[in-house]
């Protein structure tokens, strides 16, 4: 494969029909690159929970994907309300999700903890009233 590949996808807040489109594209790319199937699953489960968070909790966002021979890096950056207490948000079961989000099968406060479990590095930065950035990294070798 090329030494380094970069992609980006826009995500609309509130658009549940399209939620998962970006993660689906990421999965197709990783399959083409013959990445190990278990690694692909860890990556896209994490990116999908992050993508759903943008749809569920923010106004709009962009997912930046950066792949090289050593690792996959995904930055999920949104404009939204931000997260006032990141440690609290990381707790299993903590959720401020609306009933609409719960009707879509999410909103149990499991997304961020599961993103952490599936990745080798995860970092959240957030500014209340501005937005949130979640960076995840999966090591390939």
């Amino acid at each position: 494969m090329a030494e380094r590949m970069q992609f980006e996808y826009n995500v609309d807040g509130g658009n549940f029909t399209r939620a998962g489109y970006a993660s689906s594209e990421i999965k197709k790319i990783l399959k083409k690159l013959n990445v190990d199937l278990a690694v692909i699953k860890r990556t896209v489960v994490a990116s999908y929970e992050g993508e759903v968070n943008i749809v569920a909790h923010a106004y709009s966002g962009t997912i930046y994907v950066d792949i090289d021979t050593e690792r996959i890096r995904i930055r999920l950056q949104d404009e939204g309300p931000g997260i006032p207490d990141i440690d609290k948000a990381m707790e299993e079961g903590f959720s401020t999700a609306s009933s609409q989000v719960r009707e879509m099968g999410f909103g149990a406060g499991m997304g961020l903890p599961n993103m952490k479990k599936n990745t080798d590095r995860m970092e959240i930065t957030s500014e209340v009233g501005k937005g949130t950035t979640v960076e995840i990294e999966i090591v390939l070798k």
């Binding site: 549940f16 489960v45 879509m104 099968g105």
Partner: protein, 114 residues
């Protein structure tokens, strides 16, 4: 258990994946909570659910789940079927409740994950 046996046990309707009736599932998991499904590590999982929307199919796609049963007469929309076909999934619909669906499959020897 093979898809064609599942269809028989549940008197289910095969909505898509007619060419995959010999696909074999190893374990089954029932949930309407997609975040729960996204924590599974197993291969060849059968998903039994009462949640029929695009996120159900997306969740299966990310989790490498190739067979979904919608219980209690929940229907897959055309858009859901299109996405399922793209991902070579088998989608079944059955009229029984999630409870009865699970009971029948368990009785027929399908193993749980936990």
């Amino acid at each position: 258990m093979k898809v064609k046996e599942i269809v028989k046990v549940l008197d289910a309707k095969l909505v898509c994946g007619q060419d995959q009736v010999d696909y074999s599932i190893e374990v089954a998991f029932a949930s309407d909570l997609m975040s729960d499904v996204l924590t599974l590590k197993n291969d060849h999982v059968l998903l039994i659910t009462g949640l029929a929307n695009m996120q159900t199919i997306r969740t299966a796609e990310m989790s490498d789940i190739r067979c979904i049963i919608f219980a209690r007469n929940k229907k897959a929309t055309a858009e859901m079927i299109e996405l399922a076909l793209e991902n070579e999934m088998v989608v079944l619909e059955c009229r029984y409740s999630v409870f009865k669906t699970c009971g029948l499959l368990f009785g027929a020897g399908v193993k749980p994950i936990f």
